[in-house]
């Protein structure tokens, strides 16, 4: 008689069923992507440091300190001080707070508006689609920079803070997402599972929310990373030009604008190099994460 190895029957039955949702599969694939994971860790650390800045430093960043102007890096001021005597390292953290906040807020609002408009246009088609898309084209063709500059000039001093900037960027920025989501929905709608969702009695909102959006979400997530990077760049560029967040609020863009003074640009690199480097690293990290997400959601893996 053949000897059958004594297998523990328990072992077989207690093993969890090897079944993975497409999300779980994507997550596993993403975690294996080193560059994307390093980028993610970098971003998380940066975000935590920035948002905790007021609690981990006691330095007052808004007070001008005439006695400590333009100091090079030292053990007391890691990245030196700027032309007003403020600690560059601490301002960098505070600047991250503003830059990341503006970036995230704009991205969220833009995604929200863009996904709603795009999903409705793509799903219902016909006249609803035509009208929404005409409106989208109008918004897309709006001279963005001019509008931001003019609006900022008008509102200057009346409404404070970064709210104006976030509002303006968001209201003018959702067009691209709307178009993308619409075209994705149009192609996804051709799949029979969407017809099936209607034929089994699903109402339109359920068909959109439960069937179309989850399958469009992968595209949206990738788009979100691109947007996030773009929004941080937009904030910095506008602030550099003086049309972004108010001058007294530290942001990476505002810090960079110090380099407009030839003296700073030439002789005091510690003032403008740190924000420049951190900006570049952040943008790169976001892009690597975006690429990682895109790879992880390669649709071939779950069809």
């Amino acid at each position: 008689m053949e000897v059958v190895p004594n297998k523990d029957p328990q072992l077989k039955t207690t093993k969890p069923p090897k079944s993975m949702s497409p999300w779980a599969m994507a997550r596993r694939k993403f975690m294996k992507n080193k560059l994307a994971m390093i980028s993610l860790v970098y971003l998380i650390i940066l975000a935590i440091l920035s948002f905790l800045a007021p609690y981990i430093t006691t330095v007052d960043i808004s007070r001008v300190n005439i006695g400590q102007m333009k100091l090079p890096p030292s053990s007391e001021h890691w990245f030196g001080t700027d032309t007003s005597g403020r600690d560059v390292f601490v301002r960098l953290l505070y600047g991250g707070r503003v830059s990341l906040f503006v970036g995230i807020s704009c991205t969220m609002i833009i995604l929200f508006l863009g996904v709603i408009v795009g999903a409705i246009a793509g799903f219902f088609g016909g006249i609803v689609d035509s009208m929404l898309m005409r409106f989208t084209d109008f918004v897309l063709n709006f001279p963005f920079l001019v509008f931001v500059i003019v609006l900022n000039a008008i509102l200057f001093g009346k409404v404070g803070g970064v709210g104006v900037l976030i509002g303006v960027i968001s209201l003018l920025g959702w067009g691209g997402v709307a178009r993308l989501v619409r075209s994705k929905i149009l192609s996804e709608k051709e799949n029979e599972y969407v017809l099936a969702a209607t034929s089994i009695g699903g109402r339109p909102n359920k068909v959109i929310m439960k069937h179309l959006l989850p399958n469009v979400l992968t595209t949206v997530i990738v788009q979100a990373t691109i947007l996030f990077a773009n929004m941080i760049v937009a904030e910095s560029a506008l602030s550099y030009l003086g049309f972004g967040v108010p001058q007294e609020v530290p942001s990476w863009g505002n810090m960079l604008s110090a380099s407009q003074q030839p003296e700073v640009l030439q002789d005091m690199p510690w003032i403008w190099v740190p924000p420049a480097i951190i900006l570049v690293f952040t943008i790169l990290a976001i892009n690597f994460i975006g690429e990682g997400v895109k790879d992880a959601f390669n649709p071939k893996s779950f069809r």
Binding site: P17, S19, N191, E192, Y193, A196, T198, S199, R203, N215
Partner: protein, 333 residues
């Protein structure tokens, strides 16, 4: 006519389709104006009696899926009537339309595209029930879904899996379970096996046959060749370019096809009982014309071996040429 056939003829019609048309507008030009129409379905009529299977056969692109989808109102037909239990459902909206969908379900053509890749099989099959019966939930609902899964021949642990973990045949079984979940009266099976391996096809066909008896189902069974419908249908409708060419009992269609197009299709089916007999295969010349610009008169006249002068001028109507055998051809006018 045999006794059983007589009985069937007397039973009531579950579905009656009268002169159904589905024209897709073709937009073009600068202002996106309608510049033409794809006449995917151009005046289709047939009926299905309770408990029977009507096979709908035709080449790819002749409008079979469009017919099925129009009946289910997944498309809004351009014209015509669809009577379900005597009620015209082409104009229904809102709640009435949703109610009627409980009684008519569809099994889709593509087992890969017809299941949401993001959903667990258990969710896919329970969703129709959740849509209509808010009170059924929890363990009770799960048990019901498990029953359905076992009934269509899937293992119980399929409940927690995703579509990508199954083969084409198994996916089609999931689609069948979803269609069964609401206990419908009519199932429109849109080429349910054409995407499957030949070895798997007969298993799925057998399953559909078993389910028909068990759940008292009526089928509209769509296929693109006659060999598949042969094992499924009581009656067969032959479609060409958005039109029905011939509808008759399966036996009549095979024994004595009247329409030239049906004759050509039959001649292409290998027939074991006629081995040794000399059989001429009718090979059709040319391609199927575009539904955007269909031929005048009889839609088949550009390829018909028996075409007459008259055929390009007059469009033949479906007429009862022999008892129970309806043909649209000028040869029988």
């Amino acid at each position: 006519m045999s006794i059983t056939e007589l009985n069937k003829a007397q039973t009531e019609k579950l579905l009656e389709v009268n002169d159904l048309k589905m024209h897709f507008p073709v937009k073009g030009g600068f202002f996106k104006r309608t510049i033409g129409a794809v006449k995917a379905v151009d005046g289709v009529s047939f009926d299905i009696k309770k408990g029977e299977t009507l096979g709908l056969v035709g080449e790819s692109g002749c409008g079979k899926s469009t017919t099925g989808r129009s009946i289910l109102r997944l498309l809004d037909p351009t014209d015509g009537e669809v009577l379900f239990n005597g009620e015209d459902i082409t104009k229904l909206t809102g709640k009435r339309l949703r109610d009627i969908r409980q009684d008519i379900q569809m099994v889709f053509q593509d087992p890969y595209a017809s299941l949401n890749p993001m959903q667990m099989v258990g969710d896919i099959v329970s969703e129709p029930i959740k849509n209509y019966h808010k009170n059924r939930k929890g363990e009770e609902l799960k048990a019901e879904v498990m029953d359905l899964l076992t009934r269509v021949g899937l293992p119980e642990d399929a409940y927690y899996k995703y579509a990508h973990e199954f083969s084409g045949g198994q996916r089609q079984r999931i689609g069948i379970a979803r269609a069964l979940a609401l206990k419908p009266k009519l199932i429109i099976a849109d080429e349910p096996v054409s995407a499957l391996d030949v070895s798997v096809q007969s298993q799925v066909l057998n399953l559909l046959n078993e389910l028909q008896d068990e759940f008292d189902l009526t089928y509209l069974f769509i296929a693109h060749d006659l060999s598949v419908v042969k094992h499924m249908s009581d009656r067969i409708g032959v479609m060409y370019l958005g039109n029905i060419m011939e509808v008759a009992n399966k036996s009549s269609i095979y024994a004595e096809p009247l329409h030239p197009y049906t004759q050509a299709l039959i001649s292409a089916v290998p027939d074991a009982s006629k081995i040794g007999q000399k059989r001429e295969r009718i090979v059709l010349e040319g391609d199927v014309p575009s539904p955007e610009n269909p031929p005048s008169g009889c839609p088949f006249h550009t390829r018909c071996p028996k075409a007459m002068d008259e055929c390009s001028k007059t469009k033949p109507q479906l007429k009862e040429v022999k008892p129970g055998q309806h043909v649209a051809c000028l040869l029988y006018e």
